[in-house]
Subunit: 289 residues, 2 copies
């Protein structure tokens, strides 16, 4: 019986230690900028993307150790996207993971620059890994105007417009799915995966990413502020598109579970230990129960 | 006699064409984000960093053609930094190159995301070049919290504080110098330059970058709004630190010319055609007369 809680706890520790070492020390000039970067990175976070990256490396016979620095880069990029999404000009969120958002503590200009710096640091870290260019390309494609940034752009544009299932799927695929997909593929790259294996890892990541987003939408309705770290029902309040408003609670739950099964099917042909990736796919929706 | 005007005009055309092709078409989804990215890139600009990059490649015996895509990445990164610097939370500038700044036309959220997308695109382009990882590392180090973003951070923090020459030098070195230095080194990398040659190109870039910034400060006082594309004296108005306030007009002019000579001395040992780099160094301060 695979103990996912223990598995996650151990790897969260690894990732946190590696992050701590990869960031410029908060004593280094400019001190307050480096403090701001650390504030957002260490305010919490499940480290899901780094852990998926390491599990993907293992699934094709590689080592978690080789994938760890790549996971650190992924977490830097993910954190940049949260900082910028929370800004007053964007989602204007005051709370993130139960704590004041970065711009609330350090001001708006510093939050923009801390985000910019974390985005840049992600590429600095990748450039120093074996296969640095291949890894960078994967991350840049997932994060740019055709991925995460484009998804956030469209999400803002679509707020208060008609809720359309197809648009919602595309926004989620770009905002959340592509980075999770990239995390899995990049883990595979560190392990020297071939094209077929990278495709399987990518499809696993796409399905898990979508399931994860649906689970988030469900939690946004059903959870408590204490668990969620932000007000419950905030999506509905700002008329933000989400799955619940779009297809209803019951169908959303069914869809999330279907995606998990679909993700796990992709792992059949992989040569390494796929147990962690299986458990992670289940974990993503088990948060719901 | 080297015709710098003709030289610049030809290369500006190359860079503009290459930029036009490297950017996602403005018909591609999300349309308005891609339009915003193009607005800022094609609003004007001397393309100094791409041209320095190409000239540096030539100076060590490489080709301008191989350096051109790297120049495109540099211009994307430079444009991102201008977009974010202009934001209301930062320098709050309404005009850039004589035109409304991006956030004035597309709104603040979209300006932040267009900047993020251009920063990311720079690394996407570099990752596809030979020596992609080495080039990415060079750019990331110049652009991150220890470079450009850190310099902007400190510039904002120092506004309305005592004008100190040492602080001013460090801010300029980070905000402007490091990217121009990287442009020269990256041109060298595309041409397979050795460590000594990269050092020489880097030192050339540092001196030219500082001379360029001093020249900008001088123009901020002496030019007309028509030439400058933004109000004259805007630095003094917001009590922004600059060389003129710090060491006076006469010393600033002397210092700019000294830096140009210092830059050109670095070129002596390089094996290729260094005439363009020489002319470019002079051009940087000749804008003053």
């Amino acid at each position: 019986m695979f103990d996912i809680k223990q598995y996650l706890a151990v790897r969260m520790d690894w990732v946190n230690q590696a992050l701590f070492q990869a960031l410029p020390p908060s004593t280094e000039h400019p001190v307050r900028l480096h403090e701001a970067m650390r504030y957002s990175l260490f305010i919490g976070g499940k480290r899901l993307r780094p852990i998926l990256c390491m599990a993907a490396a293992e699934a094709v016979g590689g080592t978690e150790k080789a994938a760890l620095p790549v996971g650190v880069a992924l977490e830097c990029l993910h954190t940049y996207s949260l900082i910028h999404d929370d800004l007053p000009a964007m989602d204007n969120d005051d709370l993130r993971r139960g704590q004041p958002t970065l711009h609330k503590v350090y001001g708006e200009a510093n939050a923009i620059l801390a985000g910019d710096s974390l985005l840049t640091l992600a590429f600095e870290i990748l450039a120093q890994q074996p296969q640095g260019a291949k890894l960078s390309l994967e991350l840049a494609k997932a994060a740019g105007s055709r991925g995460l940034a484009g998804g956030q752009f469209e999400d803002l544009a679509e707020e208060q417009q008609a809720q359309n299932h197809e648009t919602l799927m595309r926004i989620h695929a770009n905002k959340t799915g592509k980075l999770i997909r990239a995390a899995c593929r990049m883990g595979g790259i560190t392990a020297g995966a071939n094209t077929g294996q990278l495709d399987a890892l990518g499809q696993y990541g796409e399905s898990v990413g979508l399931a994860f987003q649906i689970a988030d939408d469900i939690l946004n309705v059903t959870s408590t502020q204490e668990v969620l770290g932000k007000p419950v029902g905030s999506d509905a309040k700002r008329e933000k598109m989400n799955y619940i408003a779009c297809i209803g609670m019951e169908l959303a739950q069914t869809e999330a579970r279907r995606l998990v099964e679909q993700a796990i099917e992709q792992l059949d042909a992989l040569p390494g230990d796929t147990q962690p990736l299986q458990a992670l796919a289940h974990y993503v929706v088990e948060r719901l129960t």
